[in-house]
Amino acid sequence: MSASANGAHRELALELHDVEFAYPDGVPALRGVSLQVPAGEKVALIGANGAGKSTLLMQLNGILRGRGEIRVLGRVLSDASVREIRALIGLLFANPDDQLFSPTVLDDVAFGPLHMGLPKPEVQRRVTEALKQVGMSGFEARMPHHLSMGQKKRVAIATVLAMGTPILALDEPTASLSPGARYELIALLQSLPQTMLVSTHDLGALPGVFTRVVVLDEGRIVADGETATILADHDLLHAHGLDEAHGLPHA
């Protein structure tokens, strides 16, 4: 596993020990997930629909709480530490409508930094910077729920970036972006120094950004390795519903 190869003496950003989670209606979504991500590493989380990617990401900052232990930069996730941990992990929800709750784009992006109690000029600087990073400068006064899907997505990403967290947990950040915006986001993820755990169906974006890929199926990790190795393993991808079998039929 690449994790142990290059992360032996680096600080661990994320440690999950045997995390299990079932939704209140009894659906088991995670069945014992153990994972370590060294600081600075960018890890992609792939898996078929319903594999448990979103559920896993929501464990990391205590939005959903299951069994098992989670450590973020060494601190154990608990009721007492959850606020502090949320300053360490920025979580992007898959659906931007779940993420944006304020009357204007400005309010939404400013919420995280304001809540941390940062001084006003710093908040302003972060908002401007985050919106610029996602190419949404000039949209500050707009209503988030009246933007296009891709625009909402980009504002949602800005709300996370503005938190200035050392770790990013992003759920399908490239979904519904047009090719140009997708390219720019990939370039942005490449350039950012943060530790990342990113769920995605965008296998084409993997080699450019992520050094390591974790494959999830039915709530379990079924593979964990270097990006090139995993992407070359067609049998593996096929077995877990991640390839197009025989390609698309031609018209």
Binding site: P24, D25, M58, N61, I63, R83, E84, R86, A87, L88, G90, L91, F93, N95, D97, D98, Q99, L100, F101, S102, P103, D107, F111, G112, L114, H115, M116, G117, L118, H145, T159, V160, M163, T165
Partner: protein
């Protein structure tokens, strides 16, 4: 979040006779039974116990999780609070005095409150069985079957449907807010009470605006697929004689309990 989880969908998937039974029969049984329970005289505990028995049996036969039923039926408690003053205003034998306030409770008053509590609880548990064993679509069909006008039935259906959609949407917005509610050492986090109240206020506003807009989109999507206000079924439910007989027996039993209480 937990509040909204508690408000999760009412239907509990099980393969039971109660679940299979026709919605119209269940709805009529529920309404009839509740009426009969209401008729129980003051402080007749034996009768109330006898009326609770079949309801408990239905919970068991429908194989509903006990904790779910108890939690949901607890929703009736706040309404029962309205009856508590009766304990102090009903004339009768004094049994207790509230310290400081000097209100005095009477035995008759306490019994009146307990009777109301028991009646409401039996009725609410029965209603829980109905909603946990009948899908909303079936319930609308049942309402229509009992001659409730289509428009009213549709309004009830959509209110029910959107209660949970709005609840879910609200809980997701809260999640997002909580995700970004962080604290860092050396800074006073959380802002002022006023600021937080403002955020909550605008969240509620956003929620309603969005729900309203979503309802228009959903309605457009339903119309595009031919919706005309009448629920349709792949297999229209059919009345089975055994279900009718079962419901009739339960109602007869409740009526007999009432008759016995009055004559005996």
């Amino acid at each position: 979040m937990s509040l909204v989880f508690a408000l999760g969908d009412r239907y509990v998937t099980r393969a039971s006779v109660v679940h299979r039974a026709d919605g119209r029969v269940k709805l009529a049984l529920t309404l009839g039974y509740v009426l009969l329970v209401t008729a129980t005289p003051h402080a007749h505990w034996l009768a109330l116990a006898a009326l609770a028995l079949p309801v408990a049996a239905l919970v068991a036969v429908a194989r509903l999780p006990l904790d779910v039923v108890l939690k949901r039926s607890a929703l009736a408690l706040p309404f029962v609070l309205a009856a508590v003053p009766l304990a102090f205003t009903t004339p009768g034998e004094l049994v207790a005095t509230v310290p400081l306030l000097g209100w005095t409770a009477t035995r008759e008053g306490a019994e009146a409150v307990a009777t109301i509590l028991a009646k409401s609880w039996i009725s609410v548990v029965l209603a829980c069985v109905l909603t946990a064993s009948t899908t909303p679509t079936e319930l609308v069909h049942a309402l229509r079957g009992l001659r409730v006008p289509a428009l009213l039935a549709a309004v009830i259906f959509f209110t029910y449907r959107y209660l949970f959609t709005i609840g879910d949407e609200g809980s997701r917005l809260m999640r997002s807010r909580d995700s970004r509610s962080a604290a860092i050492a050396g800074y006073r986090s959380g802002g002022t009470l006023r600021w937080r109240a403002g955020i909550l206020g605008s969240m509620v506003g956003t929620l309603f605006l969005r729900s309203y807009e979503r309802s228009e989109r959903v309605f457009a999507a339903m119309q595009s697929r031919g919706y005309d206000g009448e629920p349709r079924f792949l297999d229209p439910p059919t009345l089975h004689r055994s279900e009718l007989a079962g419901a009739a027996l339960l109602l007869l039993y409740a009526a007999l309990v009432q008759a016995y209480v009055r004559l005996g």
